[in-house]
């Protein structure tokens, strides 16, 4: 068993625990507070709460604009997921398996859209699109979103490729598998959780993206985040809470699915290494 680095006595540890509790509360409460807001009977959240009602969800269904925006965002996000998963998976193979000069620089470049301020990326693309007359098409938004979604795929697929034991591929070939069969039957199934996680985060990153859309979407491409942004600037309508609750639920569900999938895959390989290192029972 791994030895703990704990040096704190019971009192310090309790204090630390209280602090940890406060910080996690600070992290989670704002996310949770929108749930009761979305079910409020009043037009604002008041104390004591005025009562339970589904009116804001009903209003969401009544108003086509929200559904339209949601569909647009889903479409764009699906396109982005497809493009970034293909480009990112190939790229991760190139990065992990290839050997060439400047590998680290290439990796830094691919990941840079995650750190460089969103506004810079957004206006650079906006100016470029304006010159190319590309502003105002869902495809254009999808292309721009792919730039910021691809790093998630590269990170996740690279991680599973780095943990991948190349001897499995050698074994498959030794047993008579062609290169294609080796990829299809051995490599792909084993790194699939990584690809899946990457695709998931690619989807979410596009679905939630606002800044780029803010600049390059035309008046007819009001993505969901754009509509929420517009709505937020005018009023604190709990319709927003309702849509947020739906969006957060989907994200959280996807997040836990992916975590679970990865944990399962990890358990398999880790247990395998453990029996090898730990000897026989």
């Amino acid at each position: 068993m791994k030895r703990s680095i704990r040096v704190s006595g019971p009192i310090t540890q309790t204090l630390l625990g209280c602090m940890a509790f406060a910080v996690t509360l600070f992290l989670i409460v704002p996310v949770l507070i929108i749930v009761p807001t979305s079910f409020s009977a009043g037009s604002f959240l008041a104390f004591p709460p005025p009562g339970f009602s589904l009116q804001w969800y009903e209003r969401l269904l009544e108003r086509d604009v929200w559904a339209e925006s949601a569909w647009l965002s889903i479409w764009i996000a699906l396109l982005v997921t497809l493009a970034s998963t293909v480009l990112g998976t190939l790229g991760a193979f190139g990065l992990v398996r290839g050997s060439f000069w400047g590998q680290r620089v290439v990796l830094a470049f691919i990941l840079s859209p995650l750190i460089i301020p969103g506004v810079i990326v957004a206006i650079a693309i906006y100016f470029f699109y304006a010159q190319m007359r590309l502003v105002g098409s869902p495809i254009a938004i999808a292309i721009a979103h792919t730039t910021i979604a691809v790093p998630f795929v590269v990170i996740n697929v690279s991680a599973s490729l780095q943990g991948f034991d190349r001897r499995l591929e050698m074994a498959a070939q030794n047993l008579g598998a062609s290169h294609w069969d080796t990829f299809r039957l051995i490599t792909l199934p084993i790194i699939r959780p990584g690809i899946f996680a990457g695709a998931l985060f690619a989807f979410i990153s596009s679905f939630d993206e606002l800044i780029i859309a803010l600049f390059i979407a035309g008046p007819r491409q009001v993505t969901l985040p754009l509509r929420m942004w517009e709505s937020m600037k005018s009023s604190l309508d709990p319709t927003l809470a309702a849509i947020s609750v739906i969006a957060v639920s989907i994200s959280v569900a996807l997040f836990f699915t992916s975590t679970w999938l990865q944990a399962r895959a990890k358990r398999r390989t880790e247990a395998l290494t453990e029996t090898l290192v730990g000897g026989d029972a």
């Binding site: 030895r3 602090m19 929108i34 104390f47 004591p48 990796l107 750190i115 810079i120 939630d208």
Partner: protein
Amino acid sequence: MKSLRNPGMLLIPLMAFLLVFYLLPVFLMLLRSAGEGWSFAPFVAAFDSVVTVKVFVFTVKVAVGVTLLTLLLAYPLAYFIVTTSDRMAALLMAIVLVPFWTSILIRSYAWMVLLGRKGVINELLTWIGVIETPIRMLNTTFAVYIGMIHVLLPFMILPILSALKGIDGRLVAAAENLGAGPASVFRHVILPLSMPGVIAGSVLVFVLALGFYITPALIGGPQDMMISMLIAQKVELYEWPEASAIAAVLLVLTLAALALVGRLISIEKVLGRATG
């Protein structure tokens, strides 16, 4: 994969895509900021204004403040996660990660609901009777700090956590065996060994804070204008060269902060941990 002579070739589609739709646009933007005939007039125009300078000073001040406050909150939490039971650690990790994958927009909205004049906190305090009239919290610099810390906290927690997890517990046992008390063990063993995580987290948070847009725009006041908002404003006013110039400076500032520590790559580890 097929037995490619060099699997590095598989990067070509991605690199081609990024060169055309990412690097080229950024390059053209930088070119635009240079002005006609390399006069650099846009820079002069942009930075001749008091507003621009004020916005830069304010942004850096907020970024530094947010970094320090985040560090102050993140370190104890990370340390607690590492030293507590596995179940508790898993629960805390989930709580750290869930907001991480909730959109910034929704989280800003949540703060609007909480901090507004008729928001949850004011309503609650009035109901209890602590205050008579609502306190103004939304659209203040305070709100900007709160909102940004909320978004950036996981970026500080994860690298510190990863550094703390990497410390060999036997080192602590050895230090104790050699006569060091808890405080000295922490000061001389744990703290120095977790420094890479602290540095990586701080740089990451600082850099991300520099470019914040949505949170300050929604929950800050008119006086809380950050660089990104100024750039957006200039674009809306069709002052594209000036916007490009300011963006160029922000980009250089960002890259300089990263280069200073040479840890651009560590983001891979941070986000790898968050996503995997």
